[in-house]
Each structure stands twice: as structure tokens, then as C-alpha cells.
Amino acid sequence: MAFRITVNGKPHLVDAASDTPLLYVLRNDLGLSGPKFGCGLGQCGACAAIVGGKLVRTCSITVRDVGKDPVITLEGLGTSQKLHPLQKAFIDEQAAQCGYCSSGIIMAAKALLDRNRKPTSEDIKNALADQLCRCGAHNRIVRAVQRAAAEIAG
């Protein structure tokens, strides 16, 4: 079946079964590497993206259910030449080890900053409570989100 979805500001026509999880459409049809497969159960957050303004586990939403909601992935935030403040802050704080969970965490942080421009470290920790990081970069990540918030606020 063909579906029209808008990802990172661009319309795409995707030919996939209607119950295909959005994750595989993003990764394999659109060639995006930001969202990662972590558990397929909506538990770890590695696949998180923003759909219709909300943080969504892309392993747990079908391409059919995306409808007209715009999808934003890590690639939609910035590029290596023009980094988003969150990406820049994650580099400045060296807020990663393996980097596999980073995409989902940055998207969760983006969703937080979209609704709360001046989060406390408690706010950040709570907003990331369902995003798993196994390498133990938690404190660096919290600092990076604070740094990005400060930069966005100017």
C-alpha cells in the first residue's frame, strides 16, 4: 500500500504494508539512521521521534497511524555543518559513549524543550525517565540538555 508521510519537512510516498511500524519505514525506505531498533516493545526509547509534536516510539506506531502528522527524526534537527543546539551541546559535553541511545534521547530532550524552555535538572531527568542509557552517560546528557536550553534561551 502507498502512504504519504511527511518526514523532516519533506513529503514521501512509501510503499509498505499498513501495519508496518514507522521505525522500519524511516530506516529502510527513507534511509534514515537516527531512529534505532532497541527493543520493539516501546520500553527503551532508542527509536523515539517526534510525530505530530509528540514524542513517539516509532517501533510502536504503524505507518498508517501516522496519517498527516509531520515526523521529525534526529536528521531533522540539524546536520554536521549546521548543528541543532542540542546536538552541539551533546558534542560540547561529550554526552555519549556508544551513541546508540543518543538519537532517542535527543528527540526526547527536544520534546521537553519544546514545552519547557527552562527545565531544571529534575525536569530533564524526569523527561528522560523512559529513555534507557546503558553506558552511564546520564549526567553528561543532563548537562548537555541544560546547556542547549541555555543556548536556545539566548
Binding site: 504494508a17 534505532k36 520500553q43 536528521e75 551533546f90 559513549q97 556508544c98 528522560l128 546503558r134 552517560a137
Partner: protein, 741 residues
């Protein structure tokens, strides 16, 4: 150009897929190297096997070590840039690759800086020396009069040439055996080593560039999944392949004995086909009887065992009669790696060659095991390291590599990307084995330990591929004609296996340490960060606090009284000062503080840790607000990189100590998703303050040493807070409540 084409192209460029098959000059044979050569150079003598000036104006540096998320490629690039006098951004480090890189066996044991770093330092110094000598001939000046900077050699008269220009005049200049006669720089001249350079791989990973094996996309690639048995020991009796009639896209079903896998055109099709096969496959009721989860101490000690004394001294010394004897038993649970991305590999059988891209820790050893199982020559198989999600030891990477290769054989010509599902990872990857420890000591009236007796019971933590006597790959044991597991290794001290760090670091007049290497392996055993050091340091350091308590001593003072090594004493004193340690403070039933010390492998990094806890007596939940650590890792290549590793080890240790245990009944592993194997979350993460000691050569390794003492310090903090001692990991709320009732 579509996004997909673009990313494929970017990936191809960044990972060298296109050039993966070019022939690399053969390496020298064994046994020719002088004994003073760095370890990794001894079997990899060719200079061009380590350093190559690329015509595009960059330097290619080859390592046999793998980027596991620890930032090793950045640190190695710093070492090369430093010794060569080349800008860091011109250095490209190529991770482990059997088609073109040096064989450095495994990336493990916190030894990459020590081994690969030393080799690259020597090779880079030699390359720079050769370039200088060639330039001196060209300019007709003395070598001493030449200066190197940013890849350019300048003579006093203003003549200058870049390394690449000089190498052009003599293409064989860097093609030779390494003599290791060129002295590396003095540490006082370092300008790149010792600086907190940003990780070279992070910008890509943080902007969505294809960076992981999971992100590989090759033309015509198909997607594969495995269908594992429901439990250890179950055999595939029958399979109703009609189950696949309603699942589109299936390209191949691979069945060989108890190994079952499926490939499909699209990833979600492969997953649907896996589910369909799993529901229609009939497995036998066979199972491997698992130990009683609730009684690991006695269960492990009932396994068949091979006992050796791994350390003894002073046995002829008499123990004073008035000495007080104290003993205790400790237990550690089986641990899962819990990597966020399940194991994955890409395999491609093309023109009689099998190429496997894998996040393995040992590309060369894996190649050997793969070749055996596939019935191919080693020279027909290549393993190329590509990063996966965080790696904390021997996880499912190697197994997924064989899984992918077996499927690739069935769809010859097409590349296969095979990724495990979450339950494959939790149920089938090797575990850090459960451990039982028993310590007995005698305290003299003056508060000094006069006797020490220690036992540890554990399976081997070292069952990686590439060991003699068999094959250590999951699918190999399931084939119709199965391969035997390799024999259990015997790793001597000070490295050890389950007995790593079993010898205590303290000055003791009389001691005996016994290792009971368990031979029954009902649950799959492997390496998890720090191997047996985690359980042993947990036991030794908890027991030191118990002894200090009996002796009426302060835990820091009690340890210092038994430690001579000035670097050990220094980290203890530094952590006590940084944490504001005050002797004689009592816990208030809810809040407390504990400390622990260890030197990893007794030859690696020193770490002393102070942990604060808050115990909720009603819920049994233990919170850790703050951890302070003092670490001495010797020569630091990248301070922030070392710091990241040390912090990560501490947070992982807090997770392991409070939450983690593989759960099983008598027949099968039942913790197969995150809710059954919870790990530390953001709201639970403690702050970490680090004192990184300023020391010189050699580098002692930073990857693992902070983890073992953190578990013990946390346990000691709990005992300090509550007056109750828990000797079993993890500190689940149920266990905490039981101890307080």
C-alpha cells in the same frame, strides 16, 4: 539522489566497504621480534600494517582494537598525531579488520591503550624517523637540523616538504619491518596526548550519519532474523513451513539441526516471518536443569569444580591464639550485558568469499571460528569491525555474525543483515556468571588481620570465540552436525578469570586464595565488564568493612593500615578528602556512606570510591545521590575520555548493585525484556565527582576498574546507614525490606 542512495554512499565511504577486499602486504611470521617490542608489534612487524600515508593527504592508522563506545579510536589517533607531528584531523584510524589491519586479538581487559597505543606510538615514531632521514638525504642536511610540524619537514635554509611529498620519492620508505629503534617523544614534549580532545566519532552518531553495523545498507541486501529454541536444550522436532504462506517477502528459511532463521526482502517481513515460524515450530520438551535462583550460594557450590590455589603465603606462620575469627559469604547474580541495541551483523557470500561486518571484540579470533563452522579456509573469510551499541564484554555480537553468515550461505550473492530481537539478546547472549564467595579472616587484638582464607566459585568468564578445542558460537552448537564448545580456559594470575582480583590487595602475613572453576555450565557463561573482579572485590571490600567494624576501626584507616603501595594509599586519601570522609560518623538508619578500594587485576588502574545512600525503609528502595571516586590510571591520553569511562563504570555498577539479575526458573531464562531486567534510569543516576590522579607512564587502562569497588562501596554504605549487612547482589527492594525487618 534519494536519501537512501545518499546514506548508502556515505556509509560506504565512511566504513571502507568498497576497499574491503584489497590485499594488504603479508605480515611477518612469528618469533622474529626482539623481546622489548611492544606486545602488539611482536606478531605484526610490518610498519605499513600500522601506518600508511594516503595520497589524499591523510594518514591511515590501523589498529586491531575495536571502538566499543569507549572512544579508543580517538585516543589512538591522538597518540599517532603526537608521534608523527601531524594534525589530528588528518589521522584516520581504521578499526579491527582482518582484510587489512593488524591482529591484536581481542579488545578486552582495559588493555587497548597499553597494547595498541604502545604499538602505534612506536610505529608512528619510527615512521617519523624514516621520513626525517629521507628528508635529510634530500635536503643534504643533518637530521638534527630538521624540524617537523603539521606533517611538514623543514630545513634551516627554508626548504620544506610534506610527509606525503617525501614518501612519493620513495614508495617503499614505510614498507619494512619495525625496528623500534626510534625513541618516541618525551612526555614533557606532548601537545596532543594528555588533552581532552572531542571524540572523533560522535558528530556522526549525534547527527544520524550511518555509524553502526545496524545502519549498514548494501545493494540487494535482505533482512534476517533467528528463531531460537524456547530454552537451553530444546530440539527442533518439526516445522510447519506452511506457516510462511501468509507472510510475504520471505526469501529463505534456513534450517540446520536446531538452528532456524529466516530472510525476507523487508525487515518487518523478516520479523513477521520469525513470529510465524516461532508459533509453528515444534520444539522438544528437553531442558537444561537450571540452578535454584533463590539459593545461588549453595547451588553454585554444588556444581562440579576444579579447585586450584591461586595465591598463598605465610602458611607456616602461626595464627595467634587470641585472634578473633570472622567469616562471611557473598553472592553475585548472573548479569546481562543489557546493551541498548541487540546484536547485529551483515554477512555477504560473494565469489567464494565470506565477508562479515560485526561489532565483535575479536575480529581475528571470530574469523577462525567462522571459517571452521562454514568449512572455509580462514583466508576466504574476512571480519570487519563496525561499531554496535555499547559493548561491556562478550555479548551476542559473535553469535549474530555466525547467524548472518549461515543465512548468507543460503542466499549467496545477496548481503544479509541479521539483527537479534530483544528476547534473543536477553535469553541467549552470554551472561556474566553468578558467583559465590567465602572469606574467613583472623583479627589480632591490635586490629590487624593475621590470617586470610578466601574461596570463589564461578564458571569461566572467558568463553569467547577463537579458543582451542572447539567453537564458541551459539549456532555452531545447534547445527545438525554440531561443533563442541572450546575447552574451559585456564587464565593465570594476575589476569585470572572468575578469580580475577581474588588475591586481596592488602599486606597480609598469612593468606590462601582458592579458585573453584565450575565445570557445569547450565546458563551460558561469558565476559561481563571486569570478569570475576566484580564479585571478588565486592566480597573482599565488604568483608574489609565487616572486619573494620569488629576491630572498631574506621574503614579508611583500617585499609590504610594494611596497604603499603603509595599509589593505593594516595587514591584512598584523595577520595576521603574529596568526599569529606569523617571517621566515626554513624548512619541514622536511613542515610549512610561507604567506601571501597581496588586495583583492577592487581596490576591495572587504582580506584577508591565513596558512595552515599538513602534507604527508604518502607519501600525498600535504595537511592544513591552521590558517588566520589579517586582514580589513578597512569598516563592519561585523553582526560575526558578516561573520565567518561570511569563515570560510566560507576553508573553501571550502581545499576548492577541495585537492580540487575538474570531471572530464571528451573527450566528457562524468564527475564527477556526490559521490565524483567530493569537498569538504572535517569532519575536514579547519582552525581559523580572524580579525582583523576596525575601520573606518568605507563597507561594502566581505564575501562573497567571503577565498576568493582563501586558495588562494594554501595553495600558498605547500606550497612553503614542501617546497621544491616546484605551480602547478596542485587539489593532489590524485597531483599532490602527483608534485611530491615
Amino acid at each position: 539522489m534519494t536519501a537512501r542512495d545518499l546514506s548508502r554512499r556515505r556509509f560506504t565511504q565512511s566504513l571502507g566497504v568498497v576497499i574491503a577486499t584489497f590485499a594488504w602486504p603479508c605480515r611477518s611470521g612469528f618469533g622474529q621480534a626482539p623481546g622489548n617490542l611492544p606486545f602488539s608489534l611482536r606478531n605484526n612487524r610490518r610498519l605499513e600494517g600500522w601506518i600508511r600515508l594516503d595520497p589524499d593527504g591523510t594518514v591511515m592508522v590501523f589498529t586491531g582494537k575495536a571502538e566499543l563506545g569507549q572512544g579508543i579510536l580517538t585516543a589512538l589517533a591522538q597518540i599517532a598525531a603526537e608521534e608523527l607531528d601531524v594534525e589530528l584531523q588528518k589521522v584516520r584510524v581504521i578499526s579491527a579488520d582482518t582484510s587489512r589491519g593488524p591482529d591484536e586479538q581481542y579488545t578486552y581487559g582495559s588493555q587497548s591503550i597499553e597494547q595498541s597505543g604502545s604499538a602505534i606510538r612506536a610505529a608512528s615514531a619510527e615512521a617519523r624517523g624514516l621520513l626525517l632521514a629521507a628528508a635529510a638525504r634530500q635536503f643534504e642536511v643533518r637530521i638534527e637540523d630538521l624540524k617537523t610540524r603539521n606533517g611538514t619537514i623543514a630545513a634551516p635554509d627554508g626548504k620544506q616538504a610534506t610527509f606525503w611529498e617525501i614518501a612519493k620519492t620513495d614508495p617503499d620508505l614505510l614498507r619494512r619491518d619495525i625496528a623500534a629503534t626510534t625513541a618516541p617523544k618525551k612526555a614533557s614534549d606532548y601537545s596532543v596526548v594528555g588533552r581532552s580532545i572531542n571524540r572523533i566519532d560522535l558528530p556522526g552518531k549525534l547527527t544520524g550519519a550511518p555509524s553502526f553495523v545496524q545502519d549498514m545498507r548494501l545493494p540487494g541486501m535482505v533482512f534476517a532474523r533467528v528463531v531460537r529454541p524456547p530454552r537451553y536444550g530444546a530440539k527442533l522436532v518439526s516445522l510447519d513451513e506452511a506457516a510462511l504462506r501468509s507472510t510475504p517477502g520471505v526469501v529463505a528459511v534456513v534450517r540446520d539441526g536446531n538452528f532456524l532463521a529466516v530472510a525476507a526482502k523487508r525487515e518487518e517481513q523478516a520479523i513477521a516471518a520469525r513470529d510465524a515460524l516461532a508459533s509453528r515450530a515444534h520444539w522438544s520438551d528437553d531442558y537444561v536443569r537450571l540452578p535454584d535462583f533463590a539459593n545461588l550460594q549453595s547451588e553454585l557450590r554444588a556444581f562440579r569444580a576444579e579447585t586450584t590455589v591461586v595465591g598463598a603465603s605465610g602458611q607456616s606462620e602461626p595464627v595467634p591464639e587470641q585472634a578473633q575469627r570472622v567469616s562471611a559469604e557473598y553472592t553475585r547474580s548472573y548479569l546481562s550485558h543489557g546493551s541498548i541495541g541487540p546484536a547485529c551483523a551483515v554477512a555477504w557470500l560473494k565469489d567464494g568469499r565470506m565477508t562479515v561486518w560485526s561489532h565483535t571484540q575479536g575480529a581475528f579470533p571470530l574469523r577462525g571460528d567462522l571459517a571452521q563452522v562454514l568449512g572455509m579456509e580462514k583466508s576466504q573469510v574476512d571480519v570487519i569491525h563496525v561499531p554496535g551499541a555499547g559493548c561491556y564484554g562478550h555479548n551476542g555480537a559473535d553469535d549474530a555474525a555466525l547467524d548472518a553468515a549461515l543465512v548468507a550461505r543460503a542466499v549467496a550473492g545477496a548481503p544479509v543483515k541479521l539483527q537479534w530481537m530483544r528476547d534473543d539478546e536477553f535469553a541467549w547472549a552470554p551472561f556474566g556468571p553468578g558467583m559465590a564467595m567465602k572469606v574467613e579472616a583472623a583479627l589480632a587484638p591490635n586490629g590487624m588481620i593475621v590470617d586470610w582464607s578466601y574461596d570463589v566459585w564461578s564458571n569461566s568468564h572467558a568463553m569467547r570465540p577463537g579458543q582451542p578445542g572447539g567453537v564458541n558460537l551459539l549456532a555452531a552448537w545447534d547445527l545438525k552436525t554440531p561443533f563442541a564448545k572450546s575447552s574451559i580456559p585456564h587464565i593465570p594470575q594476575p589476569f585470572g578469570d572468575g578469580d580475577r582480583n581474588a588475591p586481596p590487595p592488602y599486606e597480609l602475613p598469612r593468606k590462601e586464595i582458592r579458585n573453584h572453576l565450575l565445570l557445569d555450565t547450565p546458563l551460558r557463561n561469558g565476559s561481563f565488564r571486569s570478569l570475576g573482579a566484580h564479585g571478588n572485590v565486592f566480597a573482599i571490600e565488604c568483608f574489609m568493612d565487616e572486619l573494620a567494624n569488629v576491630a572498631g576501626s574506621d574503614p579508611v584507616a583500617f585499609r590504610l593500615a594494611h596497604l603499603k603501595d603509595p599509589r593505593a594509599r594516595a587514591v584512598l586519601q584523595a577520595v576521603a578528602e574529596k568526599a569529606g570522609w569523617a571517621a566515626g560518623q554513624r548512619g541514622d538508619g536511613r542515610r549512610g556512606r561507604g567506601m571501597a578500594y581496588s586495583r583492577y587485576k592487581n596490576i591495572g588502574m587504582y580506584a577508591a570510591v565513596v558512595v552515599d545512600v538513602e534507604v527508604d525503609r518502607e519501600t525498600g528502595i535504595v537511592r544513591v545521590p552521590r558517588v566520589v571516586v579517586a582514580a589513578d590510571v597512569g598516563r592519561v591520553i585523553n582526560p575526558d575520555g578516561a573520565k567518561n569511562q570511569i563515570e560510566g563504570g560507576i553508573l553501571q555498577a550502581v545499576s548492577v548493585t541495585l537492580k540487575e539479575q538474570v531471572v530464571f526458573d528451573r527450566k528457562e531464562v524468564t527475564s527477556r525484556e526490559w521490565s524483567a531486567y530493569p537498569i538504572l534510569t535517569f532519575p536514579e543516576a547519582p552525581s559523580v565527582e572524580l579525582v583523576l590522579m596525575d601520573r606518568g607512564d605507563p597507561s594502566l587502562g581505564a575501562g573497567e576498574g571503577s565498576l568493582p569497588p563501586t558495588s562494594a562501596a554501595l553495600a558498605n554504605a547500606f550497612a553503614h546507614a542501617t546497621g544491616r549487612r546484605i551480602r547478596e547482589l542485587p539489593f532489590t527492594p524485597e531483599r532490602v525490606k527483608a534485611s530491615l525487618s
